[in-house]
């Protein structure tokens, strides 16, 4: 069931990215709803589910853009590594690490996609793209994650309290 929800969510994010996001440009870049969706899912639900949801989201994104199929799957895959930050719990809040991971994933996505496009023979102006697309995307995508993360966190099933022992142990 949860993967059906992921499929529907990924499809909606891909369609929104291709149709709506060009109309809501901030700092000259459009928000990448697929990247935000995949990252938020990974941060809310953990690395194990991210291993399925991230490639699925990448596949759906590639099918709605002119990019070669597989580019987004590859470019989004660092999210799974970055999601390990959730387990490390560097700060008490879940929210701030999620925003940091969205920013880092935006950087990784940009660099990997530019590398792939250069490899397949496309003209990629690296300097301009890094300055005018990558850096603003590292700000804009976390801004939109501020809107997307809380409902995803809220809709995700709460961790159930463990029935053994004492204290506040929870089962993830």
């Amino acid at each position: 069931m949860k993967y059906l929800v992921a499929l529907a969510g990924g499809f909606l994010a891909a369609v929104l990215t291709a149709s709506l996001s060009p109309y809501i440009r901030v700092l000259g870049v459009a928000p990448d709803f697929v990247l935000i969706f995949a990252t938020c899912w990974a941060m809310v639900r953990g690395q194990q589910e991210a291993m399925f949801v991230v490639p699925l989201a990448g596949l759906l994104r590639d099918l709605t853009t002119s990019d070669p199929l597989g580019l987004s799957v590859l470019a989004l895959s660092p999210i799974v590594f970055l999601a390990s930050l959730r387990e490390l719990r560097p700060v008490e809040s879940d929210f701030l690490p999620a925003l940091a991971v969205v920013a880092a994933a935006s950087l990784a996505y940009s660099i990997i996609s530019m590398t792939v496009l250069t490899a397949v023979g496309d003209e990629v102006p690296w300097g301009t793209a890094l300055l005018r697309l990558t850096v603003p995307a590292m700000v804009v995508n976390p801004l939109f994650a501020v809107i997307m993360y809380p409902p995803m966190r809220w809709l995700s099933p709460r961790p159930r309290p463990a029935s053994f022992g004492v204290g506040s142990a929870v089962q993830l």
């Binding site: 291709a18 199929l69 597989g70 580019l71 895959s77 590594f81 990629v124 793209a129 697309l133």
Partner: protein, 278 residues
């Protein structure tokens, strides 16, 4: 360890998939995906456009008022010039010829297509349209705006859909001619219009001796055989002065509003050099 294996597997699968994609193996899958998503994307665009226009109008009200005032002054100046003499009327006729493509290019066969999506990456300037190879589209075909100015070319064709590469895309290069305006108009200066993420369209390789100024019309030169002659691209926005450079550069102001295209026309009667070659 598990994450490492997963990463290696994903990297391998992705690379194989990219290679297959470059060989057009997944075109039917892309066509199917666009068939499913196109109605939703079109609907969302229809909703977003007026909302976006409203906010743009509210946010840029001052600019619009100033622009309106500037256009009024421009109109008045042109009307005065047109009334003053035959030379001005000739220039107006030239503008009309360049803008009114239906009258000046009656031989063109055009297919209208609706824009259904935009490439979101920012690295490309591409649009998806609801026409494909079954409608007679082929890669390299020339795409015009509703007013007849050059928008780009067809870059990827599926059965029922296609992707367009806009003239602002970094992979776009068009041979152009700058048509000087004025009392003693010199010969057209030839150069190349290159898509640029920063400026939109950069005009390069213009002769240093060419007298180019803001407002000059830029059209296709027809060299290379990939575009018909005398298609309007836009006007000169700024001339970039580089004293030591071997050629002149400029920035183009496209005639068409490329960020708000709803409908485009594909020229099916003109075969680009790539398609007409034996």
């Amino acid at each position: 360890m598990r994450t490492l294996w997963w990463t290696l597997a994903m990297a391998g699968l992705s690379l194989v998939s990219i290679l297959l994609s470059e060989n057009r193996t997944f075109d039917p899958l892309h066509n199917l995906s666009l068939t499913v998503s196109a109605p939703i994307e079109s609907g969302l665009r229809d909703v977003a456009e007026p909302v976006s226009d409203f906010f743009e109008g509210v946010l840029n009200r001052g600019d619009i008022v100033r622009e309106n005032e500037r256009l009024r002054r421009e109109l008045e100046r042109l009307q005065t010039q047109a009334a003053a003499g035959e030379d001005a009327r000739r220039r107006v006729r030239e503008l009309e010829e360049a803008l009114g493509f239906k009258e000046s290019r009656p031989e063109d066969q055009l297919i209208a297509a609706d824009v259904i999506a935009q490439d979101p990456s920012g690295l490309k300037r591409a649009l998806a349209i609801n026409r494909g190879s079954t409608d007679g589209l082929d890669e390299g075909m020339v795409v015009l705006s509703q007013d007849g100015s050059l928008v780009g070319t067809v870059s990827l064709v599926y059965d029922h859909f296609a992707w367009l590469r806009l003239i602002t895309d970094p992979n776009s290069a068009v041979n152009i001619a700058v048509q000087p305006q004025g009392e003693e108009a010199a010969a057209a200066a030839r150069g190349i219009a290159l898509g640029d993420l920063r400026s939109g369209v950069a005009l390069e390789m213009l002769p240093t001796e060419a007298e180019i100024k803001q407002g000059d019309l830029v059209t296709t030169s027809g060299l290379g055989g990939n575009y018909p002659r005398a298609l309007l691209l836009g006007t000169i926005k700024t001339v970039v002065a580089k004293p030591q450079a071997p050629s002149k550069s400029a920035v183009l102001e496209p005639a068409a509003n490329l960020s708000a295209l709803d409908t485009v026309f594909i020229v099916t009667s003109f075969k680009p050099a790539r398609l007409s070659a034996p």
